[in-house]
Every structure is written in C-alpha cells, then in structure tokens.
Symmetry: D2
Subunit: 110 residues, 4 copies
C-alpha cells in the first residue's frame, strides 16, 4: 500500500546502519578528535533516518516535511564523512548521498 515509499524506506535504513557503524568505527580511530563532528552527525543522521523510515512505513501525514529534514542531515553527514579517508567514512558518505537523493525524490513525488 505504501509501496511508493519502499525505495526511500530501504535507503533510510541502509543509511542508518552505515551511520551507526561509522560512529563506532570513528570512536575507535586514533585521530578520534578529528572525527568528533563526523560522530555527532552520524548519530543524528542515524536517528532521523530511522524515524523517517518508520513514519513513511506508516504513511504518516508529516512524511514530506520529515524527509526534507532527513535529506538535509544526510547531505551534511555525507559531506563530512566524504572528507575522511577511512573506509567506514567513505561507505557512510555513499549511503548518505544515496539516502539524500531518495528523500529528495520522495518529496518531489509525494
């Protein structure tokens, strides 16, 4: 029934998982001080993506407003992660960019 949201839900959950993995991996890096903003954005991004996915799956009334915020945090997190060479950051950056696109597409088509 909510099938028009399925691709975006999947992208949100994939992004949430990568952000959470990246946060923990960043905390284990030697240069953790350099990763502080990355960690902070990872956690916010993971929580917002999971919420957006839940509200989309329920077909909630605020899906568009929420996916707009989700796209913003994904873009900020993807940009920050993209600056670091760690594999986990690069994987996370890619998941963030993909999720931002899915959220923008979802808002445009909603």
């Amino acid at each position: 029934m909510e099938s028009k949201y399925d691709a975006c839900i999947e992208a949100c959950y994939a992004c949430a998982a990568e952000c959470n993995r990246c946060a923990t991996a960043c905390l284990r890096e030697d240069d953790v001080k350099m990763m502080a903003r990355c960690i902070a954005l990872d956690i916010d991004c993971a929580e917002i993506c999971a919420l957006a996915a839940a509200v989309m799956a329920r077909g909630g009334e605020q899906v568009s407003a929420l996916c707009r915020v989700c796209a913003e945090i994904c873009e900020a997190c993807g940009e920050e992660c993209g600056r670091h060479q760690h594999d986990h950051c690069q994987r996370c950056a890619e998941a963030c960019r993909r999720c931002a696109r899915a959220c923008r597409d979802m808002v445009a088509g909603a």
Copy 2:
C-alpha cells in the same frame, strides 16, 4: 550548556508521554474506529517529539528544522485530540499545544 533548549526538551518529553498514553487509551475505547486518526497522529507525534528532544540535548545541527516539523505534528495532533471528549485526549491536546509553542519559541530564538 544546552540550557537554552531545556524548556523545549521538557515539553517534548511530556508531550511524547501523553501521546503514547493517549494512543493506548484510544485503542481501549469502544469507539476505536472514530479514534483511528488520533492514534496514528499520537504515535508519529510521540516519536518525533522524542527525537527532537534527543537532538536538542545533543545540540545537533538540525535542531531548528526538526523543531519546525515537531511543531507541525504537535499542532495536527493537538487539533485532532482536541475534538474528542475523552480525558486522555484532552490531556494530550494540552501537552501537544504546549510543545508546539515551545518548539516555535525555540526556533524563533535559535
């Protein structure tokens, strides 16, 4: 340190608790069919309020955008709950209105 958000965090958590209480109480009403939109809004509102509180407590970069969405869902949920005479709906409507105001104030002052 994040003291400027404290009143809004408190209003968000109070609203989340009332929304969750209201959802369960609605599910136990005889006229549950009439309460369907109320239940759906309660759950979305509770989850968005809890997320907004978490991001505010962390001083996250998307606080304003998120509190704007939070105010919108609180206003929608407060309006719907306000239509029903059940005590739990009236209590929830009041918590929603108070949280919406706190979020609007927070965005204006951020």
Copy 3:
C-alpha cells in the same frame, strides 16, 4: 566490522517496516476494534526492532540482552498477527517470525 550482525540488522529493519505498515493498515480496517492488540504490539515491535538494529550496528555492549527482548516481542507480535487473515497481518507475522529467529541466532552466536 560488525558483519556478524548484518543478517539480524536486516531482519530487524524489515520487521520494523512490516509492523509499521501493518499498524496503519489495521487502523483502516472495518474491524479495527478486533485489531487493537495487533496495533499495540506492532508499534512496540517496530520501535524495539529499530533500536536493536541501531545498537547492533554500533556493536553496543547490550546487544544480546536487547536482542533477547526483541525476539520476545517479535514472537508475541507474530503470534497475534498470525491470527488475522488480512494480508498485511500475514506479511507482518512472517517478518516477525523471521526476525525472532535472527535475534535468537544472534544471541546464541554472540
């Protein structure tokens, strides 16, 4: 790095999505009163699955305890959903059972 959790994370997110879809679909059924426990379990199950997935992705210290609770709610929700003939309930029941197994396997292998 947390690859041993990947299958369980995927099952948790799939279950969360089905539970949230089922909750909304139940609220739109004519016999919504009969679906009240299903709706309540759906929401709890969706939130617990999403949390378990987040903590697993971060490799958190409480993963086993949390996946044990997750398996319990999935079993309760799957059993309740399995009693209803609606397609969304049957799909949700299947996702719950799969997630319960993934959580039990994860705890056994952790």
Copy 4:
C-alpha cells in the same frame, strides 16, 4: 491510568537527556579518546531509556523485560561516567543511577 510507571518514565527521560548532553560534551573535550566508551554508552543508554519510557507510557507487554535491559545499560553507563571528573559526566552518572533504581523498582513492583 499508567500512573504506576510515571516516576520511572520521568527518570528515563531525564537520563536520556543527560546522556545525550554528556555525549556531545565528551566529544568537545580535549581528551576525547579517553571518553570513547563513555560516548558509546551514552548514546545506547539515551536510546534505550527513551524507548523504555515510550513502552511504559503505552503500557506495553514487554515493559518489564525492557526495564531490566534499561537498568543494565544505566548501571554500565553510570559506572563509566562516574570515573570521569567532568561535570557533565558526574551529572550523567547521577541520572543513570537514579534511572537504574527506578527501573529496578518498576520491575520489582510490576
């Protein structure tokens, strides 16, 4: 109606807020590497406390199992935070201990 959970809900939300504040403050410390476990526990604790509060407010069937896990993460987080002299860690440790006690009381009385 769920009044027997009210004290525990309040303690959970207070703990979630302190954990989230502590996580951000830790990320801004010079000795952030020393704070890595504290940050990781703060985030898990904040998310589990918020979930426990939501499930309690809904009077969910898994409240006891969830509050048991919540007490465990609060005790681990409170112990770790208690080792650090930063004000935010000491405040967080106190909120964690109080929440752990509230969860243990709630489980004993449920």
